[in-house]
Symmetry: D2
Subunit: 141 residues, 4 copies
């Protein structure tokens, strides 16, 4: 089970990421091996057709996957994305985005993670992207 | 060879991406199957340790790869990222970033693309990331 | 719903893949957007430590994902893997392997697919690999 | 520079992979951070249209990338593929295949690697696939 100290660690790390504020992202839920992030689709994060940029979808998906992994690491470790792949399946259009990250396989050297991103548009939810990646625990400097 | 019309098409598309302005990205060079994008590492695009966020590196790498592909598409087509993978190899730290996208294999249905991203720090250049992905030509709506 | 004709199409294609026979793979279940493949871990498909080679795990995972996609394509189309990523999480050790492929998002131009591969070892099942990829429908020549 | 001991280590590991013999693969060249593997397109490794199976291309590409990484590891380490992505660009058709693996970025915890696979058909060479992955050094058990 994730401890209060673990939660605080994720919240503090998240708060220090200026990119998350630029993209209007906020931490919504945390559990053992799980993280949910919400964001708007802000006017400054659009692509050429006025829908959310792939970089917005990637940023919150990668962060959700990374913080999901951080919940399963030791207190003296932090998380680095070694690599991650994103399949973009639908435009990021609507009222906002939800990204859910999950640890598929924890490990001492590497952790396999996934994330899904949906767009909320009124009462409908469309599956915008799926991510599959590798997180590495590194000692806090 | 890329035509003036082709160049204009990429420049207009790039200019409409508010995300590129938010991230301080600018189009630096274009050729047949090639695109170079420069950016700062702006204060609003950092991760928790004050270096560039993976989402910044991803955004300019994906855009460089996508516009490289667009230079090889028909005038009535535009480019969509179907999927892309990024391996992050070094922190995005220094004076700015350079992303170079290249078409590995053009095609009518899909194009295989790659991108490399470097950080410039004084006289040194470090290899921050490599991307490998798939771009899809779609008819302009 | 998958038709009998659809099932036959997959079974005939599978039967023509000599690689599947070399690897002892057999088609176990098919449904709309779903395919399950079983295999042994045959003596000719091992890596240097005597467990199943990554190429075995990849081959059945990719095939399960591809045939899952084929179940959702038109009768005059066949399936080509554009790209696929595999995260290897545990050794392919035991009595045999199970690969399950699933369509995450069907589409006219491309289909996003995933697959999971498990090793069966007596009563235990370990999660060997997860794959995420892109399948392309192409007209039958 | 790769030592004779390093070469022997790779050759011994390769010789123990029964999958490489099944696929007719042989080690052709080794250097610091580099490995080249050749193979036929044997009758037992075909897909439904009689060209080389994606699993053949993957197997030699992954092995070339992995052994490229092994040349840069300590004598008491061996290499494990954490993940690898393959983009398939042309059919594996002709007289044989060549796979070249290369270390893009060595590292103590993980190594980023790439591989390219070509098909040789008489005097022509076609670019069949490109791979991008992550290798992990693990202590020899």
């Amino acid at each position: 089970m994730i401890t209060q100290e673990g939660r605080d660690r994720v919240r503090e790390s998240f708060a220090r990421q200026s990119m998350m504020q630029t993209l209007t992202a906020r931490l919504d839920a945390l559990d053992d091996g799980f993280c949910r992030i919400l964001s708007d689709i802000p006017p400054g994060a659009l692509q050429q057709h006025g829908v959310g940029h792939a970089g917005l979808t990637f940023s919150i998906g990668d962060s959700a996957a990374g913080y999901a992994a951080l919940t399963m690491m030791a207190p003296d470790q932090e998380v680095v994305t070694a690599e991650i792949k994103i399949n973009l399946m639908a435009p990021a259009r609507g009222d906002g985005l939800v990204a859910e990250g999950r640890v598929i396989r924890p490990g001492r050297r590497i952790m396999t993670v996934e994330a899904n991103v949906w767009a909320l548009d009124g009462a409908t939810r469309s599956h915008v992207a799926v991510l599959l990646g590798t997180m590495v625990p590194v000692p806090i400097a």
